[in-house]
Amino acid sequence: MTTLQIKEEADIVRVRSTARSIARGIGFGLVDQTRISTAVSELARNIYVYAREGEVLIEELSNPRHGIRITFTDKGPGIEDIELAEKDGWSSSGSMGKGLPGAKRLMDSMEILSKPGEGTTIIVAKWLPE
């Protein structure tokens, strides 16, 4: 279990390289490592852009299956309409709107918990192919 803080842009790189090396340690192949690292990059960047700061928890899962779970938590503005935010191409900042839907496709599961004004928690997971 590894906890990392996001406070500045450089932390995005730190978080995703840590996730990549943990994924490698768990046994994920190069393609999955790259997928995980890219998804982490998107979600960490969202924290940096929308909430300024937050925390990332990386866990190795072994029961019932081997895999990785990464939890992103921030106390930022929260997401008003989660369904909309998950849509391809929707962005509140004039960006590409690829982060959330992209991360969802790159991982095996993604769960968003958010309350406007209170913050956002996003949990993603990927299982090791059997």
């Binding site: 391809d88 992209g102 790159l106």
Partner: protein
């Protein structure tokens, strides 16, 4: 012995004045001045003298400690400045723009591209294109391990700016795992010319310039 101490306890010389001196010294120390000392007359030592001596030692040690700590803070700042300078140097070193051929530039991207670095890169690239009158630019991303939407967006913007200068751009070196990831991410790079590697890129560049590489018989 006990009796003589007891008698000393009774009469402390100049008590008011000495308390005042202690207060002054403590106030000075609180204000950052550790140079003053409580005057001590050893011949007339009484029970307060040991307290005064103790305070003097404490303040003098504190002064030394503050000097040391300031020195350490300065050294730390120096190191931080050095790291910053080195970081800048590394950034510059890691983003060389190579004039590969007349009118052909190659920009091998290595490592991570944060917002600051990508902006700087695009700027220097555009300047260099104008300066060298280059017509073809090859952006090689073999050395970029993670292409997230921010990096992809940066590539799209750079390609668009290069086009505005009347030059062409090709992206080479997208690794297979990165290619798969970009597709999953849903970023559309169809407007961007891409080729597997740098040498393909060079061939493409020569082709655009109506040049050919011929093998000598």
């Amino acid at each position: 012995m006990a009796e003589s101490k007891k008698s000393q306890n009774k009469d402390i010389n100049n008590l008011d004045k000495r308390i005042e001196a202690i207060e002054e010294i403590l106030a000075a120390a609180a204000g950052g001045d550790f140079s003053a000392e409580i005057p001590i007359v050893m011949e007339e030592a009484d029970v307060l003298t040991s307290v005064e001596t103790g305070i003097n030692i404490l303040i003098s040690d504190l002064g030394d400690e503050v000097v040391q700590s300031n020195k350490r803070a300065d050294q730390l700042q120096e190191k931080l400045d050095l790291i910053k300078k080195q970081r800048q140097a590394i950034e510059e070193l890691s983003t060389p723009i190579i004039k590969m051929w007349d009118k052909v530039l190659v920009l091998p991207l290595i490592g991570t591209l944060d917002t600051r670095r990508s902006q700087k890169l695009t700027e220097s690239l555009l300047t260099e294109i104008a300066l060298t009158q280059s017509k073809v630019t090859i952006l090689d991303i073999t050395g970029v391990p993670t292409v997230d939407s921010a990096v992809a967006n940066h590539l799209l913007k750079t390609v668009a700016s290069v086009k505005l200068l009347g030059a062409e751009c090709v992206v080479t070196g997208i690794r297979p795992e990165v290619a798969q990831t970009i597709v999953h991410l849903g970023v559309d790079l169809t407007g961007v010319e891409t080729l597997s590697n740098l040498s393909e890129g060079l061939k493409w560049a020569f082709n655009r310039l109506n040049m050919r590489i011929v093998e000598e018989e």
